[in-house]
């Protein structure tokens, strides 16, 4: 039964080219997002998660070539002119970045930067926009919002800055929020607060969210569904709880079993040996093949397509391992 999707990504690929060097950062991504749904995009550094997010917003640099299609409610975004595309940013979809310290302009106050988004999309006069900005800061639980609005970024703590960024992103009531590792640069204690905040805001505003992270443990709290990314392509997809409880793809399985918090069967297994493949040299077969313990000859020659596993899950694995793994839970 077709769900009216907010965002539909079809066969999205991103290639960076400069001179003789060419790197395929993202390869053939497919997924759909329903309104109000939270999707977690999980993977280690360098796997292309951020590039995907930037591709959705249309913020990739000139030397990036994007193929494939991105649909926003049936409207194809890549076919739009730059100005039309710009209208979607901030208003329909907004992004929160990883480094709060450098994502805020040091020469403008927090309030000014939130108000800027408001004035841009809602065309309110300065005073009103500032008042709205303060209200937003209160909504993201910045204490002393009125005073903090007149503070400069270097006077605020990391957690505070991230809240300011969040406020700026929410300023125009976007339908989709892209959160790129929003807590990675923060203290552990603050991380939980921000995550709670994100969760609340998402539900309260009925916002769709793509939550990018490398830490699996953060996923269940926020996400309805999750997508696992490895070396530029999606390797597993499905409802978050189910995937974590019984990961199907060998990579996902490795992620779960080596995670100190998720793995409850005694000592976490040792880290997976090896590294993700060099992005400038992508091979024909499955990118995970060199590190996979279930690897078979066919894995080296064919790029694995998504294999449906039932219950809205699929895994990009050619072996029959994935299917059998579905039933073997690792997390109760």
């Amino acid at each position: 039964m077709p769900v009216s999707s907010l965002l539909a990504v079809e066969d999205l690929s991103v290639r960076f080219t400069a001179g003789a060097v060419s790197i395929e950062a993202v390869r053939s991504i497919n997924f759909r997002l329903a309104p109000g749904e939270c999707l977690a995009l999980v993977g280690e550094s360098g796997c292309g998660k951020s590039v995907t997010a930037l591709a959705l917003l249309g913020l990739l640099p000139d030397y990036a070539t994007i193929t494939g299609k991105v649909f926003w409610r049936e409207r194809e975004l890549n076919a739009l002119s730059p100005d039309e595309r710009r209208a979607y940013r901030g208003r329909r979809m907004a992004m929160v970045f990883q480094e709060p310290a450098s994502s805020l302009n040091p020469v403008y106050t927090a309030g000014e930067q939130v108000a800027e988004a408001i004035r841009l999309h809602r065309r309110l006069p300065r005073r009103e926009a500032m008042a709205q900005a303060i209200a937003l800061l209160e909504e993201v639980r910045v204490p002393d919002a009125a005073q903090k609005a007149h503070s400069y970024p270097h006077q605020l703590s990391g957690g505070m800055r991230q809240r300011v960024l969040l406020a700026a992103a929410l300023a125009c009531e976007p339908e989709l929020l892209l959160a790129d590792e929003p807590t990675t640069a923060l203290d552990v204690t603050v991380q939980k607060q921000i995550l709670d905040l994100l969760s609340q805001l998402q539900r309260k505003r009925r916002m769709a969210m793509i939550f990018i992270t490398h830490d699996l443990a953060l996923v269940p709290q926020l996400a309805d569904r999750m997508a696992v990314m490895y070396a530029g392509s999606l390797v597993e997809f499905g409802p978050a709880a189910a995937v974590i409880a019984a990961p199907a793809h060998p990579y996902t399985r490795a992620l779960v079993t080596t995670h100190p918090e998720l793995w409850v069967g005694g000592e976490p297994l040792p880290e997976l040996p090896g590294l993700p493949p060099d992005p400038s040299q992508r091979s024909e077969g499955c990118p995970f093949a060199p590190r996979c313990q279930h690897v078979q000859p066919v894995c080296q020659t064919r790029f694995p397509p998504p294999v449906p596993l039932g219950e809205g899950r699929w895994a990009a694995c050619l072996t029959s391992v994935a299917g059998s793994l579905v039933r073997r839970r690792v997390v109760p």
Partner: protein, 340 residues
């Protein structure tokens, strides 16, 4: 009210900082004046020559020597001179023109300021436009041309550039006057035409003075802007949906210009030095021309005065640039307690 208190505290800190800077600048000025005095007086020869024409007979010289207090020890002379300068702005009397040096300076300095300020504006206009263009279009073939031509302009003798400008635009093409601040009958012109005449005379000298290192500043700005454009907050600004022009001007330039402000301080000695050549070439009656004339005439009171003043102007310029930077960058403005 907490907001009020913190504002009060901030302005107190700023004031303290200001006072400290003014004080150290003042001490620097005194030191500069002293250097000028002692350099001149360290020269071989009769110190009387510094204050009186050399073609006077012995008895007249002794009289003058006494009157000017030159028979006093050097330290006392120094104190007297310094006091005269600081309290009254009195640099003595010009040997050649037989009138107070202060008068000469009062006439000359505004002319030099006119030239240098106009050149300053031109310099930074060119630099900003070129810098932004270069930053936007990195890797463009233009970049090579711009760098090379910038280097060429930077490497040529400024006085020769002035001569070439005169050769081409004045003598050959006849578009601009060869020199001077205004035409001979300019005073009788009605107001708008007077202004036009003055501007007409300013074009070539300002070009000569302002073009010199404009491309170097442009390159500096380009580098600074390129760095800024890589920053996360620029990406975040784009993600908000801001038009590219706003991102560039409001976010990138505002930050990218900060290091360039420090260059403003550095450009003062350069501009003042260049003004000397410009005024000689274009017969512009400013401080530079006065200095050169004074050197030929061995008019030491004037030489001392202009050298000292040039240094003072540099100090003042640096002070202003520092204050400007402090105001422009809130990180400096609100966190400095005391800056050395």
């Amino acid at each position: 009210m907490p907001i009020g208190m913190s504002l009060l505290r901030k302005s107190y800190r700023m004031t303290v900082y200001l006072i400290r800077r003014l004080l150290s600048s003042f001490l620097l000025v005194i030191a500069l004046l002293s250097v000028v005095f002692f350099v001149i007086h360290a020269a071989p020869g009769d110190p009387l020559d510094l204050y009186a024409d050399s073609d006077l007979d012995a008895s007249q010289r002794d009289l003058i020597r006494q009157r000017l207090g030159l028979d006093l020890p050097v330290w006392q002379q120094y104190i007297h001179w310094l006091a005269a300068v600081l309290w009254h702005g009195d640099f003595g009397t010009s040997l050649r023109q037989h009138r107070p040096v202060r008068e000469i300076l009062q006439e000359a300095i505004p002319n030099t300021l006119l030239l240098t300020v106009a050149a300053f504006v031109l310099h930074f206009l060119i630099a900003i436009v070129a810098g932004v263009l270069l930053a936007r279009h990195r890797g463009h073939p233009w970049e090579r041309t711009a760098t090379v031509s910038g280097l060429a302009v930077y490497s040529l003798p400024n006085f020769w550039l002035g001569l070439m400008l005169i050769l081409l635009f004045s003598r050959q093409l006849g578009w601009f006057p060869t020199g001077g601040m205004m035409s001979l009958d300019a005073e009788y012109l009605p107001w708008p035409r007077y202004l036009l005449d003055r501007l007409h005379h300013m074009v070539l000298p300002v070009l000569m003075l302002g073009m010199g290192s404009a491309m170097a500043t442009a390159r500096y700005l380009r580098n600074s802007l390129s760095e800024v454009l890589e920053q996360d907050y620029v990406l975040a600004a784009r993600a908000k949906g801001l038009p590219e022009r706003t991102v560039l001007v409001k976010h990138a330039l505002r930050n990218g210009l900060l290091p360039v402000i420090t260059l403003i301080g550095l450009s003062f000695p350069f501009l003042l030095g260049g003004a000397v050549a410009t005024e000689v070439i274009f017969a512009w009656p400013g401080m530079g021309r006065v200095t050169i004339d004074a050197i030929w005439a061995r008019d030491y009171p004037v030489i001392m005065a202009t050298t000292a003043l040039a240094a003072v102007m540099v100090v003042v310029g640096n002070l202003l640039a520092d204050l400007l930077y402090g105001w422009a960058d809130p990180r400096v403005r609100l966190t400095t307690k005391d800056v050395p």
